[in-house]
């Protein structure tokens, strides 16, 4: 099974990467973009999807500063 974990900075914590992107866009001629946040994405094959929650809590995210969201992408292992 292939899973995707999306990890975002918690609301209320300054996200300087998001700010930097938001500032850069108008300079490149893209108007109207806002509320930009930059996070991480981890994609992986797992044998046991029930472990994902704990993997996130213990390793992939730091719950103090980050929220995470788990998505299953496929039930069959993905190709390399």
């Amino acid at each position: 099974m292939r899973a995707r974990v999306l990890i975002r900075p918690k609301a209320g914590i300054l996200d300087p990467q998001g700010v930097a992107v938001e500032r850069a866009l108008p300079a490149l001629g893209f108007a109207g973009a806002g509320n930009v946040h930059v996070g991480r994405m981890v994609e992986l094959d797992v044998a046991d999807a029930s472990q994902l929650e704990e993997m996130c809590r213990r390793l992939l995210a730091n719950p103090l500063i980050e929220d995470y969201e788990i998505e299953m992408i496929s039930d069959a292992p993905a190709a390399a």
Binding site: L14, P16, Q17, A20, R40, L59, L60, N62, L64, I65
Partner: protein
Amino acid sequence: MKLGVVTFPGTCDDADARIAAGMVAEAVPLWHRDADLRGVDGIIVPGGFSYGDYLRAGAIARFSPVMESVVAFARDGGPVLGICNGFQILCEAGLLPGALLPNTGLRFVCRQVDLVVQTTATPFTSTCTVGQVLSIPAKHTTGRYFGEVAPEQVVLRYAHGHNFNGSQDDIAGVVNAAGNVMGLMPHPEHAVETLTGGSADGLALFEGMTRVAVA
């Protein structure tokens, strides 16, 4: 008196920490795969880029065998000092409150900064005075302190104008509630001799550490 200095793959300020520790005690190298603390009286978790800082600074290192022993050692009241990456690891391991976030400028910065001592009620600062200014270099990309921490747990703050990373309330270093585990982003081990350090102000923290360690 033995001070252990932990080395993970990717640690790079371990030799420097051993030099500093060696000025106040016997420095003992500790290897990440080895749970044996070799009878040390205090532990330094040094700076660098353990596991390349991949994923999140300190996230992977904290699961090593040596860290299990360090956590037990700290819970038993042994003095532990985490510097830079070591601070990040101690936060990830739950030994210290809070977390370190990317600098607001998003860049690595290497700069001599002034730190103001907030309390002398910790072993580490027991040889200092409140309000004393220490000139110590800082160098990191992920040093913006964020967390819920009691005021008396804040040991060091950046002097006015020296908080380049955006840390909450200018916090540069904190201790745990019990007072035996300290973490700071700047590098006291790079301020122990005037020839290479620009100042020797950092030595005080290592000296302080040995005082409890004796007790």
